[in-house]
Symmetry: C2
Subunit: 278 residues, 2 copies
Amino acid sequence: MPITEQVPLTGQAVSIAERYGDPDATLEVSNDSLAIQLAHRSVRAFTDDAVDDARVHAIVAAAQSAPTSSNLQPWSVIAVRDAGRRARLADLANHQQFIVEAPLFLVWIADLDRVRRLAARAGKPLDGADYLETTLIGIIDTSLAAQNAVVAAESLGLGTVFVGALRNRPREVAAELNLPPHTVAVFGLAVGTPDPAERAGIKPRLPQSAVLHHEQYDAEGADRDLAGYDESLSRYNRAHGLTGDWSSRVLARLANADALHGRDRLRDHLEYLGLSAR
Amino acid sequence: MPITEQVPLTGQAVSIAERYGDPDATLEVSNDSLAIQLAHRSVRAFTDDAVDDARVHAIVAAAQSAPTSSNLQPWSVIAVRDAGRRARLADLANHQQFIVEAPLFLVWIADLDRVRRLAARAGKPLDGADYLETTLIGIIDTSLAAQNAVVAAESLGLGTVFVGALRNRPREVAAELNLPPHTVAVFGLAVGTPDPAERAGIKPRLPQSAVLHHEQYDAEGADRDLAGYDESLSRYNRAHGLTGDWSSRVLARLANADALHGRDRLRDHLEYLGLSAR
Protein backbone atom coordinates (compact mmCIF):
# COMPACT_ATOMS: atom_id res chain seq x y z
CA MET A 1 0.00 0.00 0.00
CA PRO A 2 2.29 2.76 -1.23
CA ILE A 3 -0.03 5.71 -0.63
CA THR A 4 -1.34 6.33 2.86
CA GLU A 5 -3.81 9.11 3.33
CA GLN A 6 -6.64 10.02 5.62
CA VAL A 7 -8.89 12.98 5.88
CA PRO A 8 -7.50 15.48 8.40
CA LEU A 9 -9.41 15.18 11.63
CA THR A 10 -10.26 18.27 13.57
CA GLY A 11 -12.90 19.18 16.05
CA GLN A 12 -13.78 15.75 17.44
CA ALA A 13 -15.19 17.39 20.53
CA VAL A 14 -17.26 19.66 18.31
CA SER A 15 -18.75 16.67 16.45
CA ILE A 16 -20.37 15.02 19.45
CA ALA A 17 -21.85 18.34 20.58
CA GLU A 18 -23.26 18.97 17.10
CA ARG A 19 -24.43 15.36 16.80
CA TYR A 20 -26.75 15.84 19.76
CA GLY A 21 -27.38 19.57 19.32
CA ASP A 22 -26.07 19.92 22.85
CA PRO A 23 -22.91 21.93 23.62
CA ASP A 24 -22.38 19.88 26.79
CA ALA A 25 -22.47 16.44 25.11
CA THR A 26 -19.26 14.50 25.59
CA LEU A 27 -17.91 10.98 25.14
CA GLU A 28 -15.45 9.40 27.53
CA VAL A 29 -13.76 7.38 24.78
CA SER A 30 -12.82 8.36 21.28
CA ASN A 31 -10.37 7.69 18.47
CA ASP A 32 -9.85 8.79 14.86
CA SER A 33 -12.11 6.11 13.42
CA LEU A 34 -14.99 7.05 15.74
CA ALA A 35 -14.41 10.72 14.93
CA ILE A 36 -14.98 10.01 11.22
CA GLN A 37 -18.25 8.27 12.04
CA LEU A 38 -19.47 11.01 14.42
CA ALA A 39 -18.73 13.73 11.86
CA HIS A 40 -20.96 12.14 9.19
CA ARG A 41 -23.21 14.43 7.21
CA SER A 42 -25.04 13.97 3.93
CA VAL A 43 -23.24 15.74 1.08
CA ARG A 44 -25.39 16.92 -1.82
CA ALA A 45 -22.96 19.31 -3.59
CA PHE A 46 -19.77 18.07 -5.19
CA THR A 47 -16.74 19.46 -7.02
CA ASP A 48 -15.84 18.17 -10.50
CA ASP A 49 -13.03 15.94 -9.17
CA ALA A 50 -13.33 12.34 -10.29
CA VAL A 51 -13.30 9.43 -7.83
CA ASP A 52 -10.41 7.29 -9.10
CA ASP A 53 -10.33 3.50 -9.32
CA ALA A 54 -7.95 3.22 -6.35
CA ARG A 55 -10.58 4.79 -4.11
CA VAL A 56 -13.40 2.73 -5.59
CA HIS A 57 -11.47 -0.47 -4.90
CA ALA A 58 -10.79 0.57 -1.30
CA ILE A 59 -14.46 1.50 -0.79
CA VAL A 60 -15.66 -1.84 -2.21
CA ALA A 61 -13.09 -3.79 -0.16
CA ALA A 62 -14.47 -2.10 2.97
CA ALA A 63 -18.02 -2.92 1.87
CA GLN A 64 -17.10 -6.57 1.36
CA SER A 65 -15.52 -6.66 4.82
CA ALA A 66 -18.90 -6.04 6.46
CA PRO A 67 -20.57 -9.06 8.06
CA THR A 68 -22.87 -11.14 5.85
CA SER A 69 -25.34 -13.84 6.88
CA SER A 70 -23.79 -17.32 6.45
CA ASN A 71 -21.24 -15.71 4.10
CA LEU A 72 -23.95 -15.56 1.41
CA GLN A 73 -22.70 -12.15 0.17
CA PRO A 74 -26.07 -11.54 -1.52
CA TRP A 75 -25.33 -8.15 -3.03
CA SER A 76 -23.66 -6.39 -5.96
CA VAL A 77 -22.75 -2.77 -6.56
CA ILE A 78 -22.81 -0.98 -9.89
CA ALA A 79 -20.44 1.96 -10.35
CA VAL A 80 -22.17 4.44 -12.64
CA ARG A 81 -19.95 7.21 -14.01
CA ASP A 82 -21.57 7.79 -17.42
CA ALA A 83 -23.22 11.22 -17.35
CA GLY A 84 -26.18 10.18 -19.49
CA ARG A 85 -26.96 7.21 -17.28
CA ARG A 86 -26.66 9.31 -14.12
CA ALA A 87 -29.10 11.82 -15.63
CA ARG A 88 -31.58 9.05 -16.47
CA LEU A 89 -31.28 7.56 -12.98
CA ALA A 90 -31.79 11.03 -11.49
CA ASP A 91 -35.02 11.33 -13.51
CA LEU A 92 -36.18 8.00 -12.07
CA ALA A 93 -35.31 9.12 -8.52
CA ASN A 94 -37.48 12.19 -8.14
CA HIS A 95 -35.15 14.36 -10.27
CA GLN A 96 -32.52 14.83 -7.60
CA GLN A 97 -29.91 17.07 -9.19
CA PHE A 98 -26.96 15.91 -7.08
CA ILE A 99 -27.05 12.53 -8.85
CA VAL A 100 -26.18 14.41 -12.02
CA GLU A 101 -23.46 16.43 -10.26
CA ALA A 102 -21.73 13.62 -8.35
CA PRO A 103 -18.93 12.07 -10.43
CA LEU A 104 -19.77 8.60 -9.10
CA PHE A 105 -23.13 7.01 -8.38
CA LEU A 106 -22.96 3.61 -6.68
CA VAL A 107 -26.13 1.56 -7.02
CA TRP A 108 -26.47 -1.09 -4.31
CA ILE A 109 -28.21 -4.25 -5.46
CA ALA A 110 -29.77 -6.95 -3.28
CA ASP A 111 -28.59 -9.82 -5.45
CA LEU A 112 -30.20 -13.23 -5.05
CA ASP A 113 -29.48 -14.02 -8.69
CA ARG A 114 -25.85 -15.06 -8.13
CA VAL A 115 -26.96 -17.97 -5.92
CA ARG A 116 -29.85 -18.73 -8.31
CA ARG A 117 -27.35 -19.02 -11.18
CA LEU A 118 -25.15 -21.21 -8.99
CA ALA A 119 -28.08 -23.52 -8.20
CA ALA A 120 -29.13 -23.67 -11.86
CA ARG A 121 -25.63 -24.65 -12.98
CA ALA A 122 -25.41 -27.28 -10.22
CA GLY A 123 -28.94 -28.56 -10.86
CA LYS A 124 -29.76 -28.10 -7.16
CA PRO A 125 -32.93 -26.84 -5.45
CA LEU A 126 -32.93 -23.39 -3.87
CA ASP A 127 -36.38 -23.35 -2.26
CA GLY A 128 -35.08 -21.43 0.76
CA ALA A 129 -34.77 -18.38 -1.49
CA ASP A 130 -38.54 -18.30 -2.01
CA TYR A 131 -39.34 -16.45 1.21
CA LEU A 132 -39.46 -12.83 2.39
CA GLU A 133 -36.73 -13.80 4.90
CA THR A 134 -34.22 -14.37 2.10
CA THR A 135 -35.19 -11.12 0.38
CA LEU A 136 -34.63 -9.37 3.71
CA ILE A 137 -31.23 -11.03 4.15
CA GLY A 138 -30.33 -9.55 0.75
CA ILE A 139 -31.54 -6.10 1.77
CA ILE A 140 -29.91 -6.22 5.24
CA ASP A 141 -26.54 -7.43 3.95
CA THR A 142 -26.60 -4.83 1.17
CA SER A 143 -27.21 -2.18 3.82
CA LEU A 144 -24.37 -3.37 6.08
CA ALA A 145 -21.98 -3.34 3.11
CA ALA A 146 -23.11 0.08 1.92
CA GLN A 147 -22.66 1.65 5.35
CA ASN A 148 -19.10 0.37 5.44
CA ALA A 149 -18.67 2.04 2.02
CA VAL A 150 -19.91 5.34 3.45
CA VAL A 151 -17.40 5.26 6.31
CA ALA A 152 -14.58 4.22 3.95
CA ALA A 153 -15.41 7.02 1.51
CA GLU A 154 -15.48 9.59 4.31
CA SER A 155 -12.14 8.32 5.66
CA LEU A 156 -10.73 9.11 2.20
CA GLY A 157 -12.06 12.68 2.27
CA LEU A 158 -15.10 11.99 0.08
CA GLY A 159 -18.71 12.89 0.78
CA THR A 160 -21.79 10.77 0.15
CA VAL A 161 -25.57 10.74 0.28
CA PHE A 162 -27.95 7.79 0.03
CA VAL A 163 -30.78 7.91 -2.52
CA GLY A 164 -33.77 5.89 -1.33
CA ALA A 165 -35.83 7.42 -4.14
CA LEU A 166 -34.28 4.78 -6.40
CA ARG A 167 -37.07 2.59 -5.00
CA ASN A 168 -39.72 4.89 -6.53
CA ARG A 169 -39.56 3.12 -9.92
CA PRO A 170 -37.60 -0.12 -9.42
CA ARG A 171 -38.61 -1.72 -12.74
CA GLU A 172 -37.28 1.17 -14.83
CA VAL A 173 -34.09 1.27 -12.72
CA ALA A 174 -33.64 -2.47 -13.32
CA ALA A 175 -34.00 -1.95 -17.08
CA GLU A 176 -31.49 0.93 -17.10
CA LEU A 177 -28.93 -1.18 -15.24
CA ASN A 178 -29.64 -4.42 -17.13
CA LEU A 179 -30.42 -6.15 -13.84
CA PRO A 180 -31.21 -9.88 -14.01
CA PRO A 181 -34.27 -11.28 -12.20
CA HIS A 182 -33.96 -11.88 -8.43
CA THR A 183 -32.23 -8.54 -7.88
CA VAL A 184 -33.41 -5.07 -6.86
CA ALA A 185 -31.68 -1.71 -6.52
CA VAL A 186 -32.09 -1.05 -2.79
CA PHE A 187 -30.69 2.50 -2.91
CA GLY A 188 -28.09 4.64 -4.63
CA LEU A 189 -25.11 6.39 -3.09
CA ALA A 190 -23.80 9.58 -4.68
CA VAL A 191 -20.05 9.91 -4.05
CA GLY A 192 -17.65 12.76 -4.70
CA THR A 193 -15.48 15.48 -3.24
CA PRO A 194 -17.64 17.74 -1.07
CA ASP A 195 -18.14 21.24 -2.46
CA PRO A 196 -16.80 23.45 0.36
CA ALA A 197 -19.46 26.04 -0.51
CA GLU A 198 -22.31 23.73 0.46
CA ARG A 199 -24.35 25.10 3.35
CA ALA A 200 -24.75 22.03 5.53
CA GLY A 201 -23.86 20.83 8.97
CA ILE A 202 -23.99 17.79 11.20
CA LYS A 203 -27.69 17.19 11.78
CA PRO A 204 -28.59 16.63 15.44
CA ARG A 205 -29.99 13.19 16.23
CA LEU A 206 -32.43 12.05 18.90
CA PRO A 207 -30.96 12.00 22.43
CA GLN A 208 -29.50 8.60 23.34
CA SER A 209 -32.28 8.23 25.90
CA ALA A 210 -34.73 7.95 22.99
CA VAL A 211 -33.04 5.04 21.21
CA LEU A 212 -31.02 3.18 23.87
CA HIS A 213 -33.00 0.92 26.20
CA HIS A 214 -31.68 -1.31 28.97
CA GLU A 215 -32.87 -4.91 29.33
CA GLN A 216 -36.36 -4.18 27.99
CA TYR A 217 -38.08 -1.61 25.78
CA ASP A 218 -39.16 1.47 27.76
CA ALA A 219 -41.54 3.63 25.70
CA GLU A 220 -42.11 6.21 28.43
CA GLY A 221 -38.41 6.75 29.04
CA ALA A 222 -37.72 6.89 25.31
CA ASP A 223 -40.24 9.66 24.68
CA ARG A 224 -39.39 11.81 27.70
CA ASP A 225 -36.89 14.08 25.94
CA LEU A 226 -38.56 14.40 22.52
CA ALA A 227 -39.76 17.96 23.15
CA GLY A 228 -36.18 19.07 23.72
CA TYR A 229 -35.14 17.36 20.51
CA ASP A 230 -37.87 19.15 18.57
CA GLU A 231 -36.46 22.46 19.83
CA SER A 232 -32.93 21.44 18.93
CA LEU A 233 -33.83 20.33 15.40
CA SER A 234 -35.99 23.38 14.89
CA ARG A 235 -32.95 25.57 15.70
CA TYR A 236 -30.79 23.54 13.30
CA ASN A 237 -33.38 23.76 10.53
CA ARG A 238 -33.74 27.53 10.90
CA ALA A 239 -29.94 27.93 10.72
CA HIS A 240 -29.91 25.91 7.48
CA GLY A 241 -32.84 27.52 5.68
CA LEU A 242 -35.34 24.78 6.55
CA THR A 243 -38.57 24.93 8.52
CA GLY A 244 -40.30 22.72 11.07
CA ASP A 245 -39.22 20.52 13.92
CA TRP A 246 -38.67 16.76 13.97
CA SER A 247 -42.21 15.76 14.87
CA SER A 248 -43.88 17.88 12.21
CA ARG A 249 -41.52 16.73 9.46
CA VAL A 250 -41.81 13.04 10.38
CA LEU A 251 -45.62 13.24 10.54
CA ALA A 252 -45.71 14.94 7.12
CA ARG A 253 -43.35 12.38 5.62
CA LEU A 254 -45.52 9.43 6.69
CA ALA A 255 -48.97 11.08 6.58
CA ASN A 256 -50.20 9.19 3.52
CA ALA A 257 -49.22 7.04 0.57
CA ASP A 258 -48.67 10.08 -1.71
CA ALA A 259 -45.51 10.98 0.22
CA LEU A 260 -44.07 7.56 -0.73
CA HIS A 261 -43.81 8.57 -4.43
CA GLY A 262 -44.86 5.17 -5.72
CA ARG A 263 -43.08 3.15 -3.07
CA ASP A 264 -46.46 2.07 -1.71
CA ARG A 265 -46.31 -0.45 -4.59
CA LEU A 266 -42.90 -1.82 -3.56
CA ARG A 267 -44.25 -5.25 -2.68
CA ASP A 268 -45.65 -5.67 -6.22
CA HIS A 269 -42.35 -4.43 -7.65
CA LEU A 270 -40.36 -6.95 -5.62
CA GLU A 271 -42.55 -9.83 -6.78
CA TYR A 272 -42.27 -8.61 -10.39
CA LEU A 273 -38.47 -8.53 -10.06
CA GLY A 274 -38.46 -12.12 -8.78
CA LEU A 275 -37.80 -11.38 -5.11
CA SER A 276 -40.20 -13.15 -2.83
CA ALA A 277 -42.28 -11.15 -0.35
CA ARG A 278 -44.16 -14.18 1.03
CA MET B 1 -12.92 13.51 25.82
CA PRO B 2 -10.32 12.73 28.46
CA ILE B 3 -9.54 9.16 27.41
CA THR B 4 -8.27 8.54 23.91
CA GLU B 5 -7.72 4.99 22.89
CA GLN B 6 -7.76 2.94 19.74
CA VAL B 7 -7.03 -0.68 19.00
CA PRO B 8 -3.40 -1.09 17.94
CA LEU B 9 -3.25 -1.49 14.19
CA THR B 10 -0.86 -3.96 12.74
CA GLY B 11 -0.68 -5.90 9.53
CA GLN B 12 -2.83 -3.69 7.28
CA ALA B 13 -1.17 -5.26 4.25
CA VAL B 14 -1.94 -8.69 5.69
CA SER B 15 -5.63 -7.84 6.04
CA ILE B 16 -6.30 -7.14 2.37
CA ALA B 17 -4.46 -10.31 1.34
CA GLU B 18 -6.48 -12.36 3.84
CA ARG B 19 -9.70 -10.58 2.88
CA TYR B 20 -9.40 -11.89 -0.66
CA GLY B 21 -7.51 -15.10 0.16
CA ASP B 22 -4.89 -13.82 -2.27
CA PRO B 23 -1.32 -13.05 -1.11
CA ASP B 24 -0.93 -10.60 -4.01
CA ALA B 25 -4.01 -8.49 -3.24
CA THR B 26 -3.17 -4.85 -2.54
CA LEU B 27 -4.88 -1.50 -2.21
CA GLU B 28 -3.38 1.74 -3.45
CA VAL B 29 -4.97 3.79 -0.70
CA SER B 30 -5.37 3.06 2.98
CA ASN B 31 -5.63 4.62 6.42
CA ASP B 32 -6.25 3.49 10.00
CA SER B 33 -10.03 3.67 9.70
CA LEU B 34 -10.05 1.51 6.54
CA ALA B 35 -7.66 -0.91 8.20
CA ILE B 36 -10.16 -1.48 11.03
CA GLN B 37 -12.88 -2.23 8.50
CA LEU B 38 -10.72 -4.57 6.39
CA ALA B 39 -9.64 -6.54 9.47
CA HIS B 40 -13.24 -7.37 10.47
CA ARG B 41 -13.97 -10.90 11.57
CA SER B 42 -16.86 -12.40 13.51
CA VAL B 43 -15.92 -13.04 17.15
CA ARG B 44 -17.75 -15.87 18.91
CA ALA B 45 -15.54 -16.33 22.00
CA PHE B 46 -15.20 -13.62 24.63
CA THR B 47 -13.31 -12.98 27.85
CA ASP B 48 -15.22 -12.11 31.05
CA ASP B 49 -14.41 -8.39 30.76
CA ALA B 50 -17.49 -6.18 30.91
CA VAL B 51 -18.26 -3.57 28.25
CA ASP B 52 -18.54 -0.36 30.25
CA ASP B 53 -21.10 2.41 29.77
CA ALA B 54 -18.51 4.75 28.23
CA ARG B 55 -18.02 2.30 25.36
CA VAL B 56 -21.74 1.65 24.97
CA HIS B 57 -22.39 5.38 24.66
CA ALA B 58 -19.65 5.76 22.03
CA ILE B 59 -20.97 2.76 20.08
CA VAL B 60 -24.55 4.12 20.14
CA ALA B 61 -23.37 7.61 19.16
CA ALA B 62 -21.64 6.08 16.14
CA ALA B 63 -24.80 4.12 15.31
CA GLN B 64 -26.89 7.28 15.50
CA SER B 65 -24.43 9.04 13.19
CA ALA B 66 -25.28 6.68 10.31
CA PRO B 67 -27.54 8.07 7.59
CA THR B 68 -31.29 7.64 8.06
CA SER B 69 -34.07 8.16 5.54
CA SER B 70 -35.65 11.62 5.97
CA ASN B 71 -34.15 11.70 9.49
CA LEU B 72 -36.90 9.28 10.62
CA GLN B 73 -34.46 7.39 12.90
CA PRO B 74 -36.83 4.41 12.95
CA TRP B 75 -34.85 2.15 15.25
CA SER B 76 -34.03 1.42 18.87
CA VAL B 77 -31.36 -0.71 20.48
CA ILE B 78 -31.74 -2.69 23.70
CA ALA B 79 -28.59 -3.35 25.74
CA VAL B 80 -29.03 -6.73 27.41
CA ARG B 81 -26.52 -7.53 30.15
CA ASP B 82 -28.66 -9.67 32.47
CA ALA B 83 -27.34 -13.24 32.30
CA GLY B 84 -30.77 -14.85 32.59
CA ARG B 85 -32.18 -12.77 29.77
CA ARG B 86 -29.17 -13.52 27.57
CA ALA B 87 -29.65 -17.23 28.22
CA ARG B 88 -33.34 -17.02 27.31
CA LEU B 89 -32.55 -15.07 24.13
CA ALA B 90 -29.88 -17.64 23.26
CA ASP B 91 -32.53 -20.37 23.59
CA LEU B 92 -34.77 -18.45 21.18
CA ALA B 93 -31.87 -18.02 18.72
CA ASN B 94 -30.97 -21.61 17.97
CA HIS B 95 -29.14 -22.05 21.31
CA GLN B 96 -26.02 -20.15 20.25
CA GLN B 97 -23.72 -20.36 23.26
CA PHE B 98 -21.76 -17.15 22.56
CA ILE B 99 -24.86 -15.10 23.42
CA VAL B 100 -24.54 -16.51 26.94
CA GLU B 101 -20.79 -15.84 27.02
CA ALA B 102 -20.73 -12.29 25.63
CA PRO B 103 -21.05 -9.71 28.42
CA LEU B 104 -23.24 -7.47 26.23
CA PHE B 105 -25.96 -8.42 23.77
CA LEU B 106 -27.33 -5.52 21.72
CA VAL B 107 -30.72 -6.18 20.17
CA TRP B 108 -31.44 -3.97 17.16
CA ILE B 109 -35.09 -3.04 16.77
CA ALA B 110 -36.79 -1.69 13.65
CA ASP B 111 -38.99 0.75 15.53
CA LEU B 112 -42.01 2.24 13.80
CA ASP B 113 -43.78 2.60 17.14
CA ARG B 114 -42.05 5.85 18.11
CA VAL B 115 -43.62 7.65 15.14
CA ARG B 116 -46.95 5.85 15.75
CA ARG B 117 -46.94 7.16 19.33
CA LEU B 118 -46.09 10.63 18.01
CA ALA B 119 -48.99 10.52 15.55
CA ALA B 120 -51.38 9.23 18.22
CA ARG B 121 -50.45 12.04 20.62
CA ALA B 122 -50.83 14.63 17.83
CA GLY B 123 -54.05 13.09 16.52
CA LYS B 124 -52.54 12.93 13.02
CA PRO B 125 -52.81 10.23 10.32
CA LEU B 126 -49.81 8.03 9.59
CA ASP B 127 -51.11 6.05 6.64
CA GLY B 128 -47.68 6.08 4.98
CA ALA B 129 -46.50 3.65 7.64
CA ASP B 130 -48.95 1.00 6.37
CA TYR B 131 -46.71 -0.27 3.57
CA LEU B 132 -43.86 -2.74 3.18
CA GLU B 133 -41.72 0.23 2.06
CA THR B 134 -41.90 1.78 5.53
CA THR B 135 -41.12 -1.55 7.20
CA LEU B 136 -38.10 -1.81 4.89
CA ILE B 137 -36.97 1.72 5.76
CA GLY B 138 -37.02 0.60 9.38
CA ILE B 139 -34.98 -2.51 8.61
CA ILE B 140 -32.51 -0.70 6.32
CA ASP B 141 -31.89 2.17 8.75
CA THR B 142 -31.48 -0.29 11.63
CA SER B 143 -28.87 -2.12 9.55
CA LEU B 144 -26.94 1.06 8.67
CA ALA B 145 -26.85 2.05 12.34
CA ALA B 146 -25.81 -1.43 13.51
CA GLN B 147 -22.94 -1.62 11.03
CA ASN B 148 -21.62 1.70 12.34
CA ALA B 149 -21.83 0.13 15.81
CA VAL B 150 -19.74 -2.83 14.64
CA VAL B 151 -16.99 -0.56 13.29
CA ALA B 152 -17.08 1.60 16.42
CA ALA B 153 -16.83 -1.44 18.70
CA GLU B 154 -13.89 -2.82 16.72
CA SER B 155 -12.13 0.56 16.84
CA LEU B 156 -12.36 0.27 20.64
CA GLY B 157 -10.76 -3.19 20.64
CA LEU B 158 -14.02 -5.11 21.02
CA GLY B 159 -15.25 -8.03 18.93
CA THR B 160 -18.78 -8.65 17.67
CA VAL B 161 -20.99 -11.09 15.82
CA PHE B 162 -24.45 -10.56 14.39
CA VAL B 163 -27.22 -13.01 15.32
CA GLY B 164 -29.81 -13.30 12.55
CA ALA B 165 -31.30 -16.30 14.33
CA LEU B 166 -33.14 -13.78 16.51
CA ARG B 167 -35.62 -13.77 13.61
CA ASN B 168 -36.40 -17.47 14.17
CA ARG B 169 -39.00 -16.74 16.84
CA PRO B 170 -39.76 -12.99 16.69
CA ARG B 171 -42.93 -13.13 18.80
CA GLU B 172 -41.17 -14.75 21.78
CA VAL B 173 -38.25 -12.31 21.41
CA ALA B 174 -40.74 -9.41 21.44
CA ALA B 175 -42.33 -10.75 24.63
CA GLU B 176 -38.94 -11.19 26.35
CA LEU B 177 -37.95 -7.60 25.51
CA ASN B 178 -41.38 -6.08 26.22
CA LEU B 179 -41.50 -4.70 22.67
CA PRO B 180 -44.50 -2.56 21.76
CA PRO B 181 -46.41 -3.21 18.51
CA HIS B 182 -44.92 -1.87 15.26
CA THR B 183 -41.43 -3.04 16.22
CA VAL B 184 -39.36 -6.14 15.45
CA ALA B 185 -35.97 -7.37 16.58
CA VAL B 186 -34.05 -7.43 13.27
CA PHE B 187 -30.93 -9.10 14.69
CA GLY B 188 -28.76 -9.26 17.77
CA LEU B 189 -25.12 -8.26 18.15
CA ALA B 190 -22.96 -10.02 20.72
CA VAL B 191 -20.22 -7.67 21.96
CA GLY B 192 -17.21 -8.28 24.16
CA THR B 193 -13.46 -8.53 24.40
CA PRO B 194 -12.25 -11.20 21.95
CA ASP B 195 -10.87 -14.33 23.60
CA PRO B 196 -7.32 -14.51 22.18
CA ALA B 197 -7.59 -18.33 22.20
CA GLU B 198 -10.39 -18.34 19.61
CA ARG B 199 -9.38 -20.13 16.46
CA ALA B 200 -10.65 -17.76 13.78
CA GLY B 201 -9.32 -15.63 10.98
CA ILE B 202 -10.39 -13.10 8.40
CA LYS B 203 -12.72 -15.01 6.09
CA PRO B 204 -11.96 -14.50 2.40
CA ARG B 205 -14.69 -12.77 0.41
CA LEU B 206 -15.67 -13.05 -3.24
CA PRO B 207 -13.24 -11.38 -5.63
CA GLN B 208 -14.18 -7.76 -6.41
CA SER B 209 -14.92 -8.85 -9.97
CA ALA B 210 -17.89 -10.83 -8.62
CA VAL B 211 -19.60 -7.93 -6.86
CA LEU B 212 -18.42 -4.74 -8.58
CA HIS B 213 -20.04 -3.96 -11.95
CA HIS B 214 -19.47 -0.95 -14.18
CA GLU B 215 -22.39 0.95 -15.71
CA GLN B 216 -24.58 -2.14 -16.02
CA TYR B 217 -24.92 -5.56 -14.39
CA ASP B 218 -22.61 -8.14 -16.02
CA ALA B 219 -23.54 -11.68 -14.92
CA GLU B 220 -20.93 -13.41 -17.06
CA GLY B 221 -18.09 -11.25 -15.79
CA ALA B 222 -19.32 -11.57 -12.21
CA ASP B 223 -19.26 -15.39 -12.28
CA ARG B 224 -15.94 -15.81 -14.10
CA ASP B 225 -13.77 -16.14 -10.98
CA LEU B 226 -16.13 -18.12 -8.74
CA ALA B 227 -14.19 -21.40 -9.15
CA GLY B 228 -11.07 -19.74 -7.81
CA TYR B 229 -13.05 -18.40 -4.87
CA ASP B 230 -14.38 -21.87 -4.09
CA GLU B 231 -10.78 -23.11 -3.90
CA SER B 232 -9.75 -20.20 -1.71
CA LEU B 233 -12.64 -20.65 0.73
CA SER B 234 -12.16 -24.41 0.78
CA ARG B 235 -8.53 -23.84 1.89
CA TYR B 236 -9.68 -21.37 4.57
CA ASN B 237 -12.36 -23.77 5.83
CA ARG B 238 -9.91 -26.68 6.07
CA ALA B 239 -7.46 -24.50 8.03
CA HIS B 240 -10.27 -23.61 10.49
CA GLY B 241 -11.76 -27.07 11.00
CA LEU B 242 -14.67 -26.57 8.58
CA THR B 243 -15.58 -28.43 5.42
CA GLY B 244 -16.88 -27.50 1.99
CA ASP B 245 -16.41 -24.63 -0.41
CA TRP B 246 -18.54 -21.54 -0.91
CA SER B 247 -20.90 -22.98 -3.50
CA SER B 248 -21.72 -26.13 -1.56
CA ARG B 249 -22.32 -24.26 1.69
CA VAL B 250 -24.50 -21.60 0.06
CA LEU B 251 -26.58 -24.21 -1.77
CA ALA B 252 -27.06 -26.17 1.47
CA ARG B 253 -28.04 -23.01 3.36
CA LEU B 254 -30.79 -22.11 0.89
CA ALA B 255 -31.81 -25.61 -0.28
CA ASN B 256 -35.19 -25.62 1.45
CA ALA B 257 -37.38 -23.99 4.06
CA ASP B 258 -36.08 -26.26 6.85
CA ALA B 259 -32.73 -24.47 6.79
CA LEU B 260 -34.56 -21.21 7.63
CA HIS B 261 -35.42 -22.48 11.15
CA GLY B 262 -38.89 -20.94 11.15
CA ARG B 263 -37.96 -17.79 9.29
CA ASP B 264 -40.06 -18.96 6.35
CA ARG B 265 -42.95 -17.60 8.44
CA LEU B 266 -41.35 -14.16 8.85
CA ARG B 267 -44.02 -12.37 6.84
CA ASP B 268 -46.75 -13.65 9.17
CA HIS B 269 -44.63 -12.68 12.16
CA LEU B 270 -44.17 -9.14 10.84
CA GLU B 271 -47.91 -8.70 10.28
CA TYR B 272 -48.59 -10.09 13.77
CA LEU B 273 -46.13 -7.59 15.25
CA GLY B 274 -47.90 -4.73 13.45
CA LEU B 275 -45.33 -4.13 10.73
CA SER B 276 -46.90 -4.00 7.30
CA ALA B 277 -45.67 -6.35 4.57
CA ARG B 278 -48.16 -5.10 1.93
